[in-house]
Symmetry: C2
Subunit: 213 residues, 2 copies
Amino acid sequence: MGTVAVLPKAASRGEQTRRRILEVARDAILAKGFDATSIEEIVAGAEITRSGFFYHFRDKNELARALLEMSMHEDRALLAEVFRRGHELSDDPLHAFLVGLRLLAEMMADMPNGHPGCIVTTVCYQERLFDREVRALNRQVVLNWRAIFLAELEAVAERYPPSEPVDLVALADMLSTVVEGGIVMSKALGEPRLLAEQILLQRTYVKLLFAPR
Amino acid sequence: MGTVAVLPKAASRGEQTRRRILEVARDAILAKGFDATSIEEIVAGAEITRSGFFYHFRDKNELARALLEMSMHEDRALLAEVFRRGHELSDDPLHAFLVGLRLLAEMMADMPNGHPGCIVTTVCYQERLFDREVRALNRQVVLNWRAIFLAELEAVAERYPPSEPVDLVALADMLSTVVEGGIVMSKALGEPRLLAEQILLQRTYVKLLFAPR
DNA sequence: ACTGCGACTGTACCCACGGTACGGAATCTC
DNA sequence: GAGATTCCGTACCGTGGGTACAGTCGCAGT
């Protein structure tokens, strides 16, 4: 069941346990929400005790912080990989971006039970549960997405003038918006495919804006 | 502070109290999440006792159900009003729809503290907290949005063929997607204007798709 | 004026859960 | 083998959801 990869520099025992806690917690929290996930069941899933949990995390807020950091690294790696492959297949910035978006949509479509959810939404829909540090980190995660998408869009806009005047930052944010909203819609309707479909619709938007007529 | 309008057929005392509970609960839940909102503070805000709360609602699930029903009626009224005004100003279905979207964006922009959040997202990010009935109702709310947007889009598509082949249902869902995602992004970044901006970007998309070149 | 019902109040209690405190014990490292 | 790391066990507190139930208050109908 473990997704723990065999790493060259073997993590210390403590680090391994910590990772196990984070993975169990993430899955449970995305399925049931932060509050509805009890520490009791996290420690059961991670096969430790309550004391063990509080050894690694002072409280649930620190767990949230660690979860956000984990998700930020994973997102960054995933998006980097997707667009790297896009640029590998084409020198044209628009074509590369469109390929990347299609790959992203395919990844989302390949989750049989649908996307499990995003920690960012979990956090900002339970604001008061989290301290300033967590909320700041949450903001940072979103700004990170913006930067990644913006870099792609700027490269595109440099070669292809948009057919309508658009703010590139807002357009970059729209990609995050569609993903976050698409996850909500997929979950609400119980239609896992909706998320990928929405990303492809957004892809068509980009094509319409920049592709030469 | 009360938004209770003076109605002709005065609601019974029980109905008034029930409404007060729902309004207090909605504001608190959107600000802090469902779980983080204690019954204690709801009854304090509504100026009743715990027993009074449980007289009106068997448990928190029933509160959620009532909240969803309230939000469904409010949404329906708001969207109907927005598009009614659009069609009042123009006989052209596309123009009317675009006007409606602009009005919608303006409404969102006029919330000084930003959109407080959407119950639909709250529910589907805390799935396990709610029973089947609540989740079904949540789905119904989203399907309701779909129907409203789809009716507009079908009227548009009948007169103006889209410049790219698109599934109208998916496009209708994209409006909900952008609103839900935009709320999340606004909250996460602490930029209330982002939501309206995203709706206007989506409006441009519709224009690009259907406006004759 | 009496009755019945709707709309609550007050009190007492149970359980789950987050969090604290602290004393160990096993395992690993140097 | 000393010390640090990584846990385990146990006891305890406060908060909050939920149950149970007796009593109160005002109003509508007779």
